[in-house]
């Protein structure tokens, strides 16, 4: 019995009077690089394996053939790869836009920086589409007054960059002055509105295309550009885009 009281005493002492405050005495911080000197956890590897195999197999499935290698750096104010992308966006988005609104897309504007990879000569796979467009940007159509389309033209004129366009033609002179800008071969009419297909990145202020903020209606097609490219590659057998005269400087 006495022994039990002794234990009780130890307990009381331990949990009450002897409880001490802890003090944060030292902090050490660093980062550790994850690289190939670390071994891989086999259970994790095994778990990933079926997912990986499925993804890889799907990504490597051949969709079309590319006649040449196309890069966004090949071309001054328009590039073959950019023309391909803008034309593909028009070709596959317009039927959707028309079925929903009864109207046609007048032109397409994308951004040069949005072409994230080259297309290599040879087989085009699903992976190619992921490389060109790793982001989940979607097609949107903005209704723009003619005056703001003219702002769009002067943006391109000042940017002097091969931002991909379709259905819009711009001719600049030797000092980059505007000679002519047409949509579907007609001069831009300030008294009407145009339906401009672009992506949500630019619509939300990307690349400071502020004229898009001045839109009237906005139509969100909810069509990912990557999926559009995959659908386009499936539709065609071969791609063979060229640099053309849609945006040129006459020297």
């Amino acid at each position: 019995m006495n022994f039990k009281y002794f234990i009780l005493g130890v307990y009381i002492c331990f949990f009450s009077s002897c409880k001490q405050e802890t003090h944060l005495s030292k902090i050490e911080g660093k980062r550790i690089e994850i690289n190939d000197t670390l071994s891989s956890n086999q259970a994790i590897e095994d778990y990933i394996k079926p997912y990986r195999e499925h993804v890889e197999k799907d990504l490597d499935s051949v969709l079309a053939y590319s006649v040449d290698t196309y890069t966004k750096n090949n071309g001054d104010l328009n590039t073959a790869i950019g023309n391909f992308m803008a034309d593909a966006v028009f070709e596959l988005s317009n039927p959707i836009f028309k079925s929903r609104t009864g109207k046609d897309i007048d032109m397409v504007l994308l951004n040069h920086g949005g072409i994230r990879s080259i297309i290599s000569k040879g087989d085009i796979t699903t992976r190619t589409a992921y490389e060109i467009m790793p982001f989940d940007n979607i097609v949107v159509v903005a209704e723009l007054k003619g005056t703001y389309v003219l702002d769009l033209v002067s943006y391109l004129q000042n940017a002097r960059r091969a931002h991909p366009i379709s259905k819009l033609n711009i001719k600049l002179g030797s000092n980059f002055e505007l000679i002519e800008a047409t949509i579907n071969k007609e001069p831009i009419d300030v008294n009407r509105t145009y339906y401009v297909a672009t992506n949500d990145f630019l619509m939300n202020g990307g690349d400071r295309m502020t004229f898009l903020k001045k839109r009237d209606s906005l139509y969100v097609l909810d069509y990912k550009i990557r999926n559009l490219l995959i659908d386009y590659f499936k539709k065609v057998d071969t791609i063979n885009p060229v640099i053309d005269d849609r945006f040129i400087q006459i020297k």
Binding site: F3, K4, I7, V10, Y11, C13, F14, C18, Q20, E21, T22, H23, L24, S25, K26, I27, E28, G29, K30, R31, I32, E33, I34, N35, D36, L38, S39, S40, N41, Q42, A43, I44, E45, Y47, I48, Y51, R52, H54, V55, D58, L59, Y130, P134, D136, D200, N204, G205, V220
Partner: protein
């Protein structure tokens, strides 16, 4: 009867020895407790290591390697927490094919303790995030997103408290303003609340009311916006608040070589760390707690 008595006494003696051992340590010698905080941010669905031909990150990253590293750190110190500061989703086809399922499953296998929510975690909409929750066996913390009118209601807590060897560690989450970064159709009725005001509430609750020994902020606000100083960032947050010990950041993909130290509103040190993105690094912060009162006067030494 005699035999039962004997067993009782044996058990009691064992207890005494154990207690005596502990007692001696806490009475006479200083006893150090070490809490290890491991963290990632902006992993962006990077599951497989970068290949040997990658221009920038060749042979770096990979969840299976991170797993073995974390395992070895935990073996050395079981008092370890593993945290993520958001943007778990989006960046490789694994997200497009599986919607984040594999990311959450692997984080659960790695025994993540808590994560906060980044803007890209809304990329399949708030419904897409909600749909993957059954695969996440860790807590989501966000104090400045009000999810009460969304499907995420009750699935995210402002903070969570962990107890490791008697040390209480409070972890709260902060997210970035979604308007302009995420489509309204994706974040729906999620309300963004002022992160600095919320952080002040959180640190008071954790340190004063809940008596936490450590308050950690899991932030997806971004490290610092030099060209836009009016935007709330981790650096700004650290300076404007008190009682936060560590801010684990994300969003800006900032590769800090080592944690940075800012002075809070009371002039006390706050650590900020962020380990870039894509699972290329694991952040490791060790907190040492001492019970020796004589050492308390020396303050806290920070070795980074």
């Amino acid at each position: 009867m005699k035999r039962r008595n004997f067993i009782q006494q044996t058990a009691a003696t064992t207890a005494l020895v154990t207690l005596g051992g502990l007692g001696l340590q806490s009475f006479t010698t200083s006893r150090t407790k070490k809490i290890t905080i491991l963290h990632t941010n902006d992993v962006h669905s990077h599951i497989i290591p970068f290949g040997p031909n990658n221009g920038r990150n060749a042979n770096k990253g990979g969840v299976a390697r991170r797993a073995s590293l974390i395992e070895s750190i935990r073996a050395e110190n079981p008092n370890t927490l593993l945290l993520d500061a958001g943007d778990i989703f989006q960046g490789t086809p694994y997200f497009n094919y599986y919607g984040g399922e594999l990311e959450f499953k692997l984080m659960s296998m790695l025994k993540y303790d808590a994560a906060t929510i980044g803007n890209h975690d809304f990329d399949n909409g708030i419904d897409g995030l909600y749909a993957q929750l059954p695969h996440a066996k860790f807590d989501f913390v966000s104090a400045n997103y009000d999810f009460s009118n969304t499907v995420m209601d009750t699935h995210v807590e402002p903070y969570t408290i962990f107890k490791k060897e008697g040390i209480k560690i409070g972890v709260f989450g902060l997210g970035i303003e979604l308007d302009g970064l995420v489509g309204k159709n994706h974040y729906k009725e999620t309300k963004y609340l002022n992160p600095i005001e919320i952080a002040q509430d959180m640190s008071r609750i954790l340190k004063t009311e809940k008596q936490c020994d450590l308050a950690i902020c899991l932030s997806h606000l971004g490290y610092n916006y030099r060209n836009n100083p009016e935007i709330v960032s981790d650096v700004k947050l650290a300076k404007a608040t008190k009682d936060i010990d560590l801010i684990i950041g994300g969003h800006t993909h900032t590769f800090l070589r080592k944690p940075t130290i800012e002075k809070n509103i009371e002039g006390k040190n706050v650590l900020i760390n962020q380990v870039g993105c894509y699972g290329l690094y694991l952040g490791k912060i060790d907190f040492y707690f001492d019970s020796d009162k004589s050492k308390a006067a020396n303050g806290t030494s920070i070795i980074v």
